[in-house]
């Protein structure tokens, strides 16, 4: 640079000959001066050394002034002065030139790193070299080591680095490092760096990252495997490596990280077929720094599930079709299914009987039909003696077919009346099962009543006795049942008051059975009431031949209407009483014909409540006034 200036100066000096006119010289000088002024600035702008440029510029200014003051005269003296100034110029230029060389700038220690806790490397940044070749040297002091030592190896780790091998590396001791830059003009020392090997541990990234797509039980998973960095010594336990990997899908920008601990493999289960995955792994020793990420490995999960899909679709389609077909069939055949699975509840039905006929009341046809339905009974007529057990609780039922039959004189009862016989009972059981059951319940009640009933008296008893003994001879005697305190069954008491009855009626007579035969409902005996007298007594009539020996009180209505016989007076008088023995008893008020009733206190009768018996004579029923106080 400086030689250029000298050359330019020489040119201008030579040009500035005295022969030239002053004006042209001035012009040249001006050009020269301008050039000299700006050139240092340009070098300042583009150059590196600011100070150097400024000094150069100043020197050039002085130079120019000296040149300008040169007299342009052709004299001897001026020639001498010219040479002197020339020499001066040269000297100045030389001085300018020598200013660009300098001692080196201060280097900077960047840091150190140990990849396996056995060696370490340090790097520095050199400063400006000052134009001269500079060398850098690293010196260190170490705890528990005397003296200052120089870096053992400048080469292995590259430029501007220092490698400490195993022999020179100690852990858990402090190193104080400095780098010094040297050149011909001087040196520069960096700031010291204090470090301990345990703080600078950063391993190399893991090696040989392999990706395998494994297919276990139709679910794909990605198996990532790698190896530890070669230089780490895990076998002796000097270092403990922990790994971390990150996975990214090809379209996604986000990485997902997973910790792997000390294992050198990892299985990733959340992979989708047909997607490409990128995987990277890194590691660290103890609690040092993480290494750099390994090179990216890519893998694409194959789309092998597709051939299984049609099968699945086929199966599901078949199922849907089957289901729809089943539903259609069910809907079409719903009536049939309804009949099959929800059969209608059969109503009550007796074969041969049409209930609609009976609903309108007992009619000739109905009874006839009923009779036709009981052929068995017709056959039995001559052989056995059937009986009917009717108790209060049967009140409310439809007229028993038997009763109807009796009314129509189609009775199937034998003339001997009711006979309790075990055989008959069994035969009869079919027909009178209802009554039996009900009677069984009220056996207790009957017994009670029977017990409290006093002995029946009168020849009627004998009549009943007869019936009991299944004799077939009956008289149409009117039986009076006398109930006395004495529990003797005096059976010779008769009362002859008779009240004609238009109709036949049945009286339920409860008797106390002295003998040890079963005392149950079957011992009930019936007598036909002939008439009712004003004494509120029932007069039982003697049975005619066709129906000897039984008395029955017919029910006109389909209502309760039974009454108990309170007392039997004489041959043909029965005092009906109010029954207050059990809660089952109930009374029905006829309502239509109420007759003033005199409360009759039959003689000898104690213990029974009064009863006002009002009889409806025409009907033949013995209905009692509804009791005001029922039990």
């Amino acid at each position: 640079m400086i030689t250029y200036y000298l050359a330019v100066q020489m040119c201008f000096i030579r040009m500035g000959r005295p022969q030239m006119y002053r004006k042209s010289r001035l012009q040249h000088a001006n050009i020269y001066w301008l050039f000299m002024l700006f050139s240092p600035h340009m070098s300042y702008v583009f150059g590196k050394n600011k100070v150097h440029s400024q000094v150069t510029g100043f020197c050039h200014l002085i130079n120019h002034m000296l040149v300008m003051s040169l007299p342009f005269q052709d004299t001897q003296l001026s020639g001498m002065r010219r040479d002197l100034r020339l020499a001066l110029l040269l000297l100045l230029s030389a001085a300018l030139e020598s200013n660009s060389m300098s001692p080196p700038g201060k280097p900077v220690l960047l840091g150190c790193r140990s990849p396996e806790k056995e060696t370490f490397t340090c790097w520095w940044e050199p400063g400006p070299d000052g134009g001269l070749p500079t060398t850098h040297r690293l010196y260190y002091e170490r705890e528990r080591l005397e003296g200052i030592h120089e870096c053992p190896d400048y080469q292995s780790a590259g430029k501007n680095s220092c490698f400490f091998d195993k022999n020179h590396t100690s852990i858990w001791v402090d190193y104080f490092l400095t780098v010094v830059a040297f050149n011909d003009l001087g040196n520069a020392t960096s700031d010291p760096l204090k470090m301990d090997v345990m703080e600078i541990v950063k391993p190399d990234p893991p090696e040989n990252v392999t990706l395998l797509v494994k297919d276990i039980e139709d679910s794909p998973h990605l198996h990532v495997g790698w190896q530890r960095p070669q230089n780490t010594d895990t076998e002796s336990g000097w270092v403990t490596i922990k790994y971390k990997l990150r996975v990214k899908q090809e379209n996604n920008k986000k990485w997902k990280e997973y910790m792997s601990g000390t294992q050198t493999h990892f299985s990733l289960y959340s992979v989708s077929p047909g997607v490409e995955y990128s995987v990277q792994v890194r590691c660290r020793l103890d609690h040092g720094f993480w290494s750099e990420w390994s090179n990216t490995s890519h893998v694409k999960i194959p789309d092998y599930l597709q051939d299984k899909r049609p099968f699945g679709i086929l199966v599901s389609t078949l199922c849907v079709i089957t289901f729809i077909a089943t539903m259609c069939i069910l809907v079409m055949k719903r009536k049939y299914l309804k009949k099959c699975f929800l059969p209608p509840v059969p109503g009550p039905k007796i074969t041969g009987v049409d209930f609609t006929l009976l609903k309108s009341g007992p009619t000739e046809d109905a009874i006839n039909s009923l009779n036709q339905n009981f052929p068995l009974m017709v056959a039995w007529k001559d052989q056995m003696e059937d009986y009917l057990i009717v108790t209060e609780n049967d009140i409310g039922l439809e007229p028993h077919p038997f009763i109807s039959q009796k009314r129509k004189n189609r009775s199937m009862f034998s003339s001997s009346g009711f006979c309790f016989h075990s055989e008959i009972q069994s035969q009869d059981s079919r027909l009178s099962l209802n009554e039996q059951e009900k009677a069984g319940k009220r056996n207790h009640e009957i017994q009670q009543f029977v017990k409290s009933n006093k002995s029946l008296s009168g020849t009627s008893l004998s009549n009943i006795e007869q019936t009991q003994q299944c004799s077939h001879k009956q008289q149409g005697t009117i039986i009076n049942f006398g109930i006395t305190e004495a529990t003797q069954q005096s059976r010779s008491h008769h009362d002859n008051t008779v009240k004609p009855l238009t109709d036949s009626g049945y009286v339920d007579i409860r008797r106390h059975e002295e003998n040890t035969e079963e005392v149950d409902v079957k011992t009930l005996q019936y007598s036909r009431v002939k008439e009712m007298n004003s004494d509120n007594t029932l007069i039982l009539e003697k049975e005619n031949v066709s129906r000897p020996g039984y008395m029955d009180v017919q029910r006109q209505e389909n209502t309760e209407g039974y009454s108990r016989v309170k007392e039997v007076e004489g041959d043909s008088m029965i005092i009906v009483q109010k029954q207050i023995l059990s809660s089952d008893t109930y009374y029905k008020e006829t309502g239509n014909n109420s007759i003033d009733c005199d409360l009759q206190m039959p003689r000898g009768l104690t213990g029974f409540s009064k009863v006002g018996v009002c009889a409806e004579l025409d009907s033949g029923y013995v209905d009692t006034i509804p009791v005001t106080h029922l039990m």
Partner: protein, 212 residues
């Protein structure tokens, strides 16, 4: 007579129970105990590293490291420990364990000092720091107990402990900078020693398991 029989019976029972218990306890392999101990030391070192970083981040760069006292003045530096891998692998197992135990025991008192001064530390994160110091104390205590049990199984050499007293006193300084500097220095000493303990135990673990 019956009384004596009863007593003898009871004695026999208790004796046999103790023997059984001892047999069961000694059945725990040393490898498992070492594994457990190395996990504890790993936690200890990890905590101390986090703590140092937490302390350094906001406060220390302007001060620079050169001003700090040289850590050769750590109160445990008088203990001769291996300084590289070769040396460490040559030390016997019982000696390694003894070193670890000595170091750990030496920090029992200084941790108390650290804990006390952490509360008043002129640092923005002093609560978190104080919390971590307490955790350090707990882990240190449990690790010490574990190592005591281990030492019983590893021979007489493991039983000896070097005495390394802390002579720094309770006071870590008066002004803010001194306090912070001394606190940081103590913590760095502890970090180094915890790393030593961790490394020794991990070497022992691999040696006991014969595979790593």
């Amino acid at each position: 007579m019956a009384n004596r029989k009863n007593k003898a019976g009871k004695l026999f029972m208790s004796g046999s129970t103790l023997l059984y218990m001892a047999a069961v306890c000694s059945a725990v392999p040393v490898g498992d105990l070492l594994d457990r101990a190395s996990q504890g030391s790993d936690t200890l070192h990890s905590l101390s590293t986090i703590l140092s970083h937490e302390l350094q981040d906001s406060h220390f760069p302007p001060i620079g490291r050169v001003i700090m006292p040289r850590p050769s003045m750590c109160h445990t530096s008088s203990l001769q420990t291996p300084n590289d891998k070769e040396q460490a692998l040559q030390v016997s197992e019982s000696d390694l364990l003894s070193l670890a135990r000595s170091l750990l025991k030496a920090w029992k008192d200084p941790l108390v000092v650290l804990s006390n001064s952490a509360n008043d530390l002129p640092h923005p994160a002093h609560n978190s720091i104080s919390n971590k110091i307490q955790q350090l104390q707990e882990h240190s205590k449990s690790l010490g107990d574990g190592l005591d049990i281990l030492s019983g199984k590893m021979g007489p050499g493991a039983q000896s402990i070097s005495f390394l007293p802390y002579r720094g006193g309770n006071d870590i300084g008066q002004d803010k900078i001194t306090k912070l500097t001394n606190f940081h220095f103590l913590l760095s000493c502890f970090r180094r020693d915890s790393h030593k303990i961790d490394s020794f135990l991990k070497v022992l673990r691999c040696r006991a398991a014969n595979m790593c």
